[in-house]
């Protein structure tokens, strides 16, 4: 049975099934996370939120889905038709292929790349094209202004995200995501957000602020409030999405939310132990491997939901940044701080840990 999976045909079948499971799984969980987002937002504002479709409004996202799909696609006159349709497709596809390198549990990964982090960083740096192409192809003022803002914002915060990721790479000594999570095994003080182990506890002072900075940069990178300037409705109507309707708009929307969930997964993987529950799991050594993996996957999913909750809460009670403040935060505060952190962590690795 195991030999069958290593043949080209078996490998292709296994990978295709894996891709299918991950894609459908993410799409389904997005439907409920979107509802969760709206419910949290409603609770903070003392409203009920969507509660009509299905019990507690559980089917609201599906109703919205059909509403979007059944409406007419309006392509504005003077728009660059090919680029106009291509832009949401690019956003959607990029938001999903990035999950290929994410390990969900020990061994549960579509492609265990040696340069996993770089792959993820490369694909998420491409995300800006969907927005900038959509804004330009609409042939309209507000979408164009929104997309220019967004491009500058995403390029700026990518710099600080990259430098923060370097800290984790230095601590783990590898770019393979599974290996990074394995390096955080055992008690929760081994998580990189807490310094990565008792023998390097002073790094807590550097790494914990880094994890918070990663969270804030993730908000800016995914254009979430308080950094939702590309679609600031009071200034730009809806930014790059103004001219989009029905399915293309839906694709933008799903891509955006998939990116948010992906960033939650990244925070959990890089700083908070991924699938590690925070205590040694030696007692489960005799348990069936599939059950253990499934429980660890649930731990990982719980962490993702926790960070998604944090992002929703931020949306509910933090006012929007002004554009110059956003740029100041990115270039004058985050960039120098993360640069200093890289120097400190690298020095710690060389002079304290050695080699």
């Amino acid at each position: 049975m195991t030999e069958m999976w290593s043949t080209p045909g078996g490998w292709t079948l296994l990978t295709s099934v894996g891709i299918l499971i991950v894609t459908v799984g993410i799409l389904l969980s997005l439907a409920f996370l979107l509802l969760l987002d709206r419910k949290i937002w409603a609770s903070v504002q003392m409203r009920k939120g969507p509660n009509v479709v299905g019990p507690f409004g559980l089917l609201q996202s599906f109703a919205d889905f059909f509403k979007f799909v059944l409406k007419e696609i309006v392509v504005p006159a003077g728009a660059d038709k090919v680029v106009f349709i291509l832009a949401p497709l690019i956003t959607f596809v990029l938001a999903f292929i990035v999950w290929a390198a994410i390990p969900f549990a020990p061994g549960w990964v579509i492609s265990d790349l040696n340069v996993g982090i770089l792959y993820i960083f490369a694909i998420s740096s491409l995300g800006v094209y969907g927005i900038i192409m959509g804004g330009w192809a609409s042939n309209s003022k507000y979408p164009f202004l929104g997309s220019l803002r967004s491009a500058a914002q995403m390029v700026s915060y990518e710099v600080s995200i990259g430098l923060i990721i370097i800290n984790v790479i230095l601590l783990a000594g590898t770019m393979n995501l599974s290996a990074i999570v394995t390096a955080q095994e055992g008690w929760f003080w081994n998580w990189f957000g807490f310094g990565g182990g008792l023998d390097s506890w002073p790094l807590l002072i550097v790494m914990f602020p880094m994890s918070i900075m990663f969270f804030v940069s993730a908000l800016a990178e995914t254009n979430r409030p308080p950094f939702d300037l590309p679609e600031a409705e009071s200034e730009l109507v809806a930014g790059y999405q103004v001219e989009y309707s029905s399915t293309p708009y839906l694709l933008f929307m799903i891509g955006e939310y998939a990116n948010i969930v992906f960033m939650c997964a990244m925070i959990s993987l890089l700083f908070f132990g991924g699938w590690n529950p925070g205590f040694p799991i030696d007692f489960a050594a005799e348990w069936p491997p599939f059950l253990v993996n499934f429980l660890l996957f649930l731990v990982f999913a719980a962490k993702i939901v926790f960070w998604f909750f944090m992002i929703s809460i931020v949306k509910a009670f933090v006012p929007r940044y002004r554009y110059d403040q956003l740029m100041r935060l990115g270039w004058k505060i985050f960039l120098p701080t993360s640069l200093v952190a890289v120097v400190i962590v690298a020095a710690w690795r060389v002079f304290v840990v050695g080699g």
Partner: protein, 208 residues
């Protein structure tokens, strides 16, 4: 066989999109084709086993440099008709440059194929099962070529400082925000409580 198909597919896409970069009527489309060309080249790097270079190509060129290209091209008011005018006039010069480049590349390819040029060079550190691509590049870059590497870094730093010095102009007339001063403001310096008599209101004297 699968590798062969992937190679021909990606190189065909790279060459085609390269051709479309120069022939596309709209400069924004040119940049988009250029991005596709970069992306296919990254794919070719992966086929060579140089996944680190491939990812860097995507991060640096596609993710940052091409975005700036796109920015500039979108913002500029390009007159397409005037842009086309000089096409025939520059054709002979362009043909000569392209011919020289082609001849050079063919010569290099022949020499490399015969193994002549690689004879004295440092043997390339191939990624094996236990050393990854990143590790192999890191070991060479920070040992054999460390001085060249540092020099390249300093050149880039100087270029960056130069660009900042050339473009940074402080206008005295522009009022800037000082976040430190804003957060350090307290109630005593910014708010003053005045007793206002009911029915009398505030006189001009009190407002001052």
């Amino acid at each position: 066989m699968l590798q062969g198909i992937a190679f021909y597919l990606m190189s065909a896409v790279a060459v085609l999109s390269g051709l479309l970069v120069v022939t596309a009527r709209n400069p924004v489309h040119s940049v988009l084709w250029l991005i596709l060309a970069f992306f296919s080249s990254a794919g070719l790097f992966v086929l060579l086993g140089a996944e680190f270079l491939a990812m860097l190509l995507v991060v640096v060129y596609v993710g940052a440099v091409a975005v700036l290209f796109l920015f500039v091209v979108m913002m500029l008011d390009v007159d397409f008709v005037r842009l086309r005018e000089g096409f025939a006039a520059y054709l002979p010069l362009a043909a000569i440059v392209a011919g020289v480049l082609l001849a050079e590349m063919v010569m290099i390819s022949i020499v490399v194929a015969q193994g002549g040029a690689a004879a004295d060079a440092v043997a390339p550190a191939l990624a094996t099962a236990d050393t990854t691509n990143v590790e192999a590049i890191g070991r060479v870059l920070y040992t054999d070529y460390v001085y060249v590497f540092q020099a390249a870094g300093i050149v880039l730093l100087i270029a960056m400082i130069g660009a900042i010095v050339l473009t940074l102009r402080r206008k005295e007339s522009v009022r800037r925000q000082d976040p430190g001063a804003q957060t350090n403001r307290d109630r005593r310096t910014s708010v003053e409580i005045k007793g206002v008599t009911t029915g009398v209101g505030v006189t001009g004297e009190e407002l001052r």
